[in-house]
Amino acid sequence: MTTETPIISVEHLDKFYGTFHALKDINISVNQGERVVICGPSGSGKSTLIRCFNGLENHNSGKLVIDGIEVFEGSKEMRNLRQELGMVFQQFNLFPHLTVLENLTIGPMKVRKISKSAAEETARMYLERVHIPEQADKYPAQLSGGQQQRVAIARSLCMESKIMLFDEPTSALDPEMINEVLDVMVELADTGMTMVCVTHEMGFARKVADTMVFMEAGSIVEVSPPETFFTNPKSERCRMFLDQILEH
């Protein structure tokens, strides 16, 4: 771990949906190359937080700075920032009318203005990286869920993002496909990518996380390294949560 300025820094962030207080005074920072795993019960605001990072949701107060760019509603720099931030969704959100290869090249070509041949070369390289080079010309609907999610990861990688955000990337998958996606994510972690990952896959968390974050009811309750997080969590609520999910 490094001591330089954090690549993601969140100070006193609050977020409301109407009158509902979805995120309460969030403070967290993530360093370059750090892997953060966020967990917590349903409705605790994990998705909301991670979606604030790339501006899919707008926070109402507080300061959020990513890679030196301040994130706020209507910021002109948001689009540049999003290229630095890869996002992988629970529901994949692949483009169903485009082939796998086109899904991967459309961003680089239209957003980064890279030539088609260069974009395809990069795309094939990343398809190789997620172990499905042979699926390039298929449509997303022709792939299994696990394959689709790996395409989605490759799509973000093709944008040459500096930070990858994952929002429960395996919870829409059949059990037998979860590992193929987690394996790709572990490999990605090994490359030194900065990752913020919402997941309840604790095996994965143990393997890659530098920092564990536990959220509840819109607040961050616990931030600790995995060694203490799994063996000796500070808060009672976190202990109960872990007991519950580790039972399975």
Binding site: N54, G55, L56, R79, N80, R82, Q83, L85, G86, M87, F89, Q91, N93, L94, F95, P96, H97, I106, G107, K110, V111, R112, Y139, A141, R155, S156, M159
Partner: protein
Amino acid sequence: MSSAQTNEIKGAPLRKPPAITQIFASKLVSIVLYFVIVSGIAYGSFVGAQSMGYNWQWYRVPQFLYTYTEEGFELGVIFYGLQQTLLLSLTAFILATVLGLIVALLRLSGLVVGTAVAIGFLELIRNIPLLVLLYLFYYVLGPIFGFDRYTASVLCLAVFHSALISEILRAGINAVPQGQWEGATSIGMTKAQTYRYIILPQSIKFMLPPMTGEVVHLVKSSAIVSVIAVAELTTIGRNIISDTYMSFEIWFTIAIVYMVVTLILSVGVSYLEKKYEVDN
């Protein structure tokens, strides 16, 4: 998969629908019935016309459809009218789609002003009869902005149908899941890029069926411009009748020509739809 070997049917057979329903549902009966009804109507109108002393002159109709002389084969005035109708409809449809898309995007923009302008426009157009709108364009806006009857007709049809088309486009755009927006946004696409490369291509399959309906509707409502004597199919029909007094034959013919055109359109598009289904 053990049942693969044993092919005996264990369950009781389903009850058949009543015999009468089965007979009416058969293709042959439907076709016979169809022809009986159609010839009934034809015969009825023939007899009715006969009794009012109408002199049928169908043999004089073909000359308006085509002529065949030493100089060769030539299409008649009705086809000239049809060509004008199609041209008018096509121009109006393209304009209506562009205008409709603008209105739909304004409405979806999330800007208060945009939404207000779009809704104002929609309500205005929806609550004026097409005929009155045509008079407005021809007698009021025409002189003010200095455009002729043809332009007035095209603009009137375009504006009228843009209101309907904008709703079709809006529904099609909304039918694309929200996740597509998020996927596109997260790779840094602008709103315009997202519409162009992600949303619109996917909404076409939702838009195609109602849009065909709209084209058919437009071809039919284009007949209204005959009231300001723009040369098209209906106007040509009126002209022929005022020369020949064959109102029954000509109106039947004109109606059939409209029908043939709109049927071809519908069939063509349902073929397109099938193709799109396969592609996805």
